[in-house]
Symmetry: C2
């Protein structure tokens, strides 16, 4: 049995969709137990009428909520009875609690995880690692997708290690790692990426395939795309925006032609539903926050039940695979010069 | 009559497709004249059998070619009789020559333009500015898309000015400018982007709408996306890669369903051809290199005739609109502190 703590009050659709998603996860996985933190008076009506194994679901009442309007550092310190802080306290203190899911404020989840759960020894900068679909039908993990706007080479090496460990935990065998820069040649990039290139080449325990360009991220040729948090965030969001723009161009063109409209209605609705599903990366669950002592998954703020369910199962899978232990293990094996922040 | 010089030997499909594209441009625009630089013995057979106004086409023979294997700075200095160097010399010295197109090595075109044609006074860092399609059916100009891996705030201000001038030259009225960072809030980004934000807010002559994220680049809400050359290159190539990945996912799904296959064959082939055309940004011509004393357009290395034709017409349009003069004009109007590199 693996216990996952869920912040029932975080996100645009809380608590209704969060509760529903958590219950769906319980229905799908008999080895899972869930703790919901939040306002009991709001959570309990959501649970009414749903079928679930009550022995595997616990609701822990708390009176406060951290919103996107709160300043993360202040909120984490002051709102001690918020659903987020209560959940993270449990994650830290309860040995059985092995993972956490929230669709709340990214800044608050990040700050809260750092302050209340703590970093893995040797990792100075935890990083956000979401997955994107690839042209070959698989997934690629982008790390860091936005936690650290400024990085040092050692941070990027840690990202490569953590991304490798996570890809393994998600079932990728011998994941290969690319460093995302402005060109594939060795000398490309700014000094940060040039230096990182040389460190990654020497780094044991990862399969580094060299520099890659933005166009390679979703090609399916790499499993882990290592980025500084600034350009990683731009890459992730550009990919999102481009997929939306492409689908919008397609829709416009289908709508503007009678033949295409008929073809779509008669034959292609099913195929397009599937396509949308592949491209909608919220279906893959959330972005994992790597470098924290326990598994932390941040779902999109707009997550609905399906996405929350995927995130809970993802947190369980990562915890079950021993992700945190794997990262610790990989860190002990490597050159100390790289392992310690300069 | 506007004279555009074309490097007939640059690119994967030179000289055949380059010559063909240049001739197509001549056919489409009676106010255009073209100079082709390159090996006469190879260019003339390509011209045979094509219908064009011989009075508007000149071939200037030269014996050398700069390839992707050449080191740009060395090649520009040493290969004095190369199609690129001869073309740039003519661009610099011939007052009638107002624009240049090449599908050759990006590094060599950049270096050559800097060394042989020269920068606009006040601009220390010329920048590459390609266009991408948007979800609303228009275009967005990304500057810098890769010429400068390291930038200062003043460079990004120049990019905003040059991008605005170019968008105007391409017919956009009162273009609006976004600064691409890892979040829309004012405090987002690294120190480079934070400082740039404050400079852009004060900069006269541009319509600055604030920070934008990667997902906003192709939304159609902005006309000019200002980036440092490192993350701009990643954004551009991620957009390319994502569009390819999405189209590949769509194709796979159509192929895997008989109904979708029939629907596609009977009704949707036309719509998809149009979609491909909208998304294929080579159809928009090449990436303009801004900050040079004359108009320089860099086409994709893999350009075929259609793309070269678009690039030649684009160079003519930019020259005709007085692009270089507009940039000079905008620079004289602005705060000297920003205009001069720190």
């Amino acid at each position: 049995m693996i216990k996952i703590v869920v912040d029932a009050m975080g996100g645009d659709n809380a608590p209704q969709e969060i509760v529903k998603g958590a219950v769906q996860a319980l229905q799908r996985d008999a080895e899972l137990s869930v703790v919901l933190t939040g306002d009991k008076a709001k959570i309990e009506p959501c649970l009414a009428g749903m079928a679930y194994d009550a022995a595997r679901l616990q609701v822990v009442h708390c009176s406060e909520v951290i919103t996107n309007d709160d300043v993360p550092t202040l909120a984490i310190r002051q709102k001690k009875d918020s659903s987020l802080v209560v959940a993270l306290k449990m994650l830290k203190e309860d040995e059985e609690a092995q993972g956490f899911v929230s669709a709340g404020s990214t800044g608050a989840v990040l700050t809260g995880a750092l302050l209340r759960v703590g970093r893995i020894r040797g990792i100075s900068r935890p990083a956000v690692c979401p997955a994107l679909p690839t042209a070959k039908g698989g997934k690629v993990f982008i790390i860091d997708a936005g936690a650290n706007a400024e990085c040092k080479p050692v941070n990027l090496c840690h990202f490569a290690i953590m991304g490798t460990a996570y890809a393994k935990a998600m079932g990728v065998k011998d994941p290969c790692v690319g460093l995302v820069t402005n060109g594939t040649e060795e000398h490309k990039g700014d000094p940060l990426h040039q230096e990182t290139f040389h460190l990654l080449k020497k780094l044991q325990g990862i399969r580094f395939v060299g520099n890659v360009e933005g166009r390679d991220i979703m090609s399916g040729d790499i499993d882990v795309a290592v980025c500084d948090g600034f350009s990683g965030n731009i890459a992730l969001k550009t990919a999102e925006g481009t997929a939306l723009a492409v689908m919008s161009v397609i829709k416009q063109n289908i709508k503007s032609s009678l033949a295409a409209k008929i073809g779509y209605a008669l034959f292609m609705r099913g195929a397009f539903k599937k396509i949308k599903k592949v491209l909608d990366y919220s279906k893959y669950g959330g972005a994992v926050l790597l470098g924290i002592e326990k598994v932390v998954v941040k779902s999109h703020g707009s997550s609905k039940a399906e996405s929350i369910c995927a995130s809970v199962l993802q947190a369980k899978e990562a915890a079950e695979s021993g992700l945190v232990g794997e990262i610790r293990q990989m860190l002990t094996g490597i050159d100390l010069e790289i392992a310690q922040d300069a």
